[in-house]
Symmetry: C2
């Protein structure tokens, strides 16, 4: 799993800014700060880690609701995902691409990757249909070891 370049990270932030502008979504200072922290970390980040970073940046201690509200906004708009298996948050690298996002998470180096194959989505859809089930959201988190970590 290759880690993302600074350019890719900045592009993602830029893309989200544009989406917010054209959709009149209030990307306020805190929301933007939280998003940048998540994206630039480039690994799954914990809410209280974000809280610490926010407190540092703004040179005064913030409180949990501040961070969780920003996260909620970012998730609602598809800019950030929560990884339920590790209670952490990651940036989406194709926001508004209208995909469900699935994840590979390396337990060793903590790098993650979105893996939103259509074939996977289709297979999940078929399973749901087969069970007469209407999907509202899907959590697919594949934990294991990436190539690099597996070779060591």
């Amino acid at each position: 799993m290759k880690t993302k370049s600074t350019t890719e990270l900045n592009d993602t932030i830029y893309k989200v800014e544009q989406i917010c502008k054209s959709n009149k979504l209030g990307l306020t200072q805190i929301r933007r700060q939280v998003f940048e922290i998540i994206v630039k970390n480039n690994k799954p980040v914990k809410a209280y880690e974000i809280l610490d970073e926010i407190s540092n940046i703004n040179d005064k201690s913030s409180h949990p609701p501040t961070v969780y509200r920003a996260i909620d906004f970012l998730i609602e708009n598809g800019f950030v995902h929560k990884l339920n298996s590790i209670n952490s948050y990651v940036g989406c690298f194709h926001p508004k691409a209208n995909k469900e996002c699935y994840f590979l998470i390396c337990k060793k180096c903590n790098i993650y990757q979105e893996c939103c194959d259509d074939s996977l989505k289709d297979r999940i859809s078929k399973t749901a249909v087969h069970h007469n089930f209407v999907i509202s959201n899907t959590t697919l988190e594949i934990e294991g070891h990436c190539l690099d970590c597996n070779q060591k």
Copy 2:
């Protein structure tokens, strides 16, 4: 999604007893109690709900570690699964069948169902291989509405 019959629930408990016997796994009183609570609820159960029930059954208040240890034992041996998306625990209805278990969870009636299609497993494997990723465990939790709830 049909809810399971008493017979099915009892069969599951019996099966686990047999597995424990033949594998010399200590299905102690508390572990058995916790397993029965999870299975007989027949819905995703929260750790602190289990704690309450255990306290009632044994007529004295128990503590979180008691329940979490029992849950750990049951998960390690494949008798119980954790649903990460809702911090809840469910019984496995094909213990030791050597499958990864995937789940459909109805947000309305809270019924769940295992849906461990091989085709789904294959599709996930292929995705992992494609990314040079070695899977250690997979979380697949599909939330939405079951047939009954969708028709209402």
